[in-house]
């Protein structure tokens, strides 16, 4: 499989490690009243689409960037690759 890195061009998937659904980027607010349920859902509940899937890949053997890859789970076609930094929800406050 080939992942078209936004900065480096096409690279073999062997250079990458897969983490999972891109929803992992939207980490809930730890101080919310519903935090426990939010974190549980965020960590454990997933759709399992037969089709387009947004997922996180780590370019472990390359530039160590985290990437969001849009991949079709049926055809394996990859239609989008972006830097996770760019796709991550903004965090305004220090923890």
């Amino acid at each position: 499989m080939i992942i078209n890195h936004p900065l480096l061009g096409p690279r073999d998937a062997a250079e990458f490690t897969y983490l999972g659904d891109a929803s992992l980027l939207a980490r809930p607010d730890w101080q919310s009243e519903t935090a426990a349920g939010d974190f549980d859902a965020w960590l454990h509940l997933r759709d399992n689409p037969a089709g387009e899937h947004r997922e996180l890949w780590f370019h472990e053997q390359g530039d160590r960037s985290w990437l969001i890859v849009t991949r079709n789970t049926l055809t394996h076609e990859i239609t989008g690759v972006e830097m996770a930094r760019d796709g991550a929800p903004a965090r305004g406050t220090d923890t």
Binding site: L7, D12, E15, Q61, G62, D63, R64, S65, M83, R85
Partner: protein, 196 residues
């Protein structure tokens, strides 16, 4: 007068070998990583220019100083690796001072084993090692790529028409050397078969 003195060794002990039409040899540099502070790319580029006559490289590229002794390789969106010839082990402190806080400098000299690969058949050797397209047109002089080579992470850069540097973790230097040597031997042995 200190009671004990320490002597330095390199990961490959200066190994050097000519195999067929390629030569592989350990090279030694002082190496530092330079991280780009958030929002500080321009400031760092200016500081690199003042201090060393360099600037931040583009993704997949490198920048060399006028006298050729400094080679700045792009490794990540906010990080690059500076290879310095003819410097001392305190080069990181020298660089840190010269950049005056514009970049985060970390000593990396002994993290890496460096192999110089040169000769007419070097691309034939590289195609047995790396998934990166090292075609003469596709990977021009100055290109940098970090990838996997068998089971080792390797930084590859082209320094001349037929010369490349390969960098890999110092602790697995012997395995690294064997992998490169093995590929060079395969190329040489196969060439001997067809020419014989």
């Amino acid at each position: 007068m200190p009671e004990y003195t320490l002597t330095a060794q390199s990961p490959l002990n200066g190994a050097e070998e000519t195999i067929g039409d390629v030569k592989i040899a350990e090279q030694r540099f002082e190496i530092v990583s330079i991280a780009v502070p958030q929002g500080g790319g321009d400031r760092l580029s200016a500081a690199l220019d003042r201090a060393f006559g360099l600037r931040l490289p583009v993704a997949g590229g490198s920048v060399r100083s006028a006298d050729g002794s400094l080679n700045l390789l792009w490794t990540a969106p906010d990080q690059c690796l500076l290879l310095a010839g003819d410097r001392s082990i305190d080069f990181d402190r020298e660089a840190e001072a010269a950049l005056d806080g514009a970049g985060y400098v970390t000593l990396q000299s002994d993290n890496w084993a460096v192999i110089a690969l040169s000769g007419g058949d070097c691309r034939r050797v590289l195609e047995r090692l790396t998934m990166i397209d090292t075609g003469a047109e596709q990977f021009p002089v100055g290109s940098v790529a970090r990838s996997l080579m068998r089971h080792l992470g390797v930084i590859l850069t082209r320094t001349g028409d037929d010369s490349y540097l390969l960098l890999s973790a110092a602790s697995s230097a012997l395995s690294f050397w064997e992998d490169v040597r093995h590929a060079a031997q395969a190329v040489a042995a196969l060439k001997a078969l067809t020419s014989g």
